[in-house]
Amino acid sequence: MYKLKEQVIERLNLKDLKPENIGDDQPLFVEGVGLDSIDALELIVLLQQEYNIKLSNAADGPRVFHSIRTIADYITANSGAVKVTT
């Protein structure tokens, strides 16, 4: 999650923040870090570029991007399912 925080800081140009300043569960939008709708769009591009995950429905954004942890969970859940073979 540290790396994810670094990526978010870089993509959104949050120059004043360091990864240590962002709590894993801290709300990212409105309160907390105070991101807005444009940041959400940038995070969608981040997911696609760094993790090859496409969030095609912008309405899912608030849920997925709620905190660093929820983003990390989403990435884990969508990074290719582990196939169970018999």
Partner: protein, 342 residues
Amino acid sequence: MEVYIRSAGNISPQHSLDTDSFFLSRITTSNNYFKSEEPDYDSFIDSKMIRRMSRIVKMGVAAAMTCLKNAQVENPSAIITATAYGCLEDSSSFLRRMIEFDEKLLSPTAFIQSTHNTVGAQIALLLKCHNYNNTIVHRALSFENALTESILLLQEGTGPILAGAVDEITDDSHAILSRFGLFRKTDNHLGNIDGEGAAFFLLDKDPGEKPLAILKGLQILYNPESTVAIQNSVLEFLKENETTMDQVGFVLTSHTGIKRQDEQDDELMNLLFEGKNSFPFKSLCGDYPTASGFALWMGAVMLKEQMAPFWMEHGPKFPLKNILIHHHSGNSHHSFFLISAN
């Protein structure tokens, strides 16, 4: 109705944010581009907003904030911004990425910040100003057209007006404009240099506390037929403003130092400005379409302080009542400003 320039804010290649420094020392360059002396923007703009702003937006916002602070006005009745090139850095960035990634993985921020009205919009956003807001994007007459609209608004009873001009140099813009052969070769000390700047003014029918100067008149000429036609137009313009050429103590000219670009300037020097104290303002700010913003600022502060910069050789005599500014780009877009001491 008098149009008072109540205050100004200017970010340019000179020490223009602090007038005293401007009068004390001049900045020169041996390059063929002249980038601005920029302040620490954190003192002007909240960090949450600044992170998204490109350089040109920061320049425009800082110049506008300085202007308002100098007049102690918080909420102008109108904001009119002029820019010829718009937000080049973000436009280039979006274009390059669009080409490199074949129209995928593009940044919404770069696109949003590339629209021409971004500077004016960000100023309004910072001030929470819901009033009239317009952006003029018309080459070397952008600033002049913005002022024309400002004067019209004042006549209609709206005021004070925050009006300004901003243009930037980027690596891409400089590379492209250089290919048009507009600038001197780097090691040749004569000739034209690429420039940039952000100059904002608070214009009002009321002088307020201590106005800088009075904008007596503005004359715009597009595609004038000849230099003689320009000459006649200027004399007529001065007459309409109850002034004669004799009463003009100082002229700011658009000379660039490149012979073929200066032909018309030289002709006008002979026809109109013979014997007058004059100074080529583009040697201070470089050449760019909205450089008249710098010239207006320079003329206004000289009239306010009633002195010439210490470094200026052959400056005008004081007391100085009237300054005439001639701004042009090519032989097609001309403007004349008449400004007077308060």
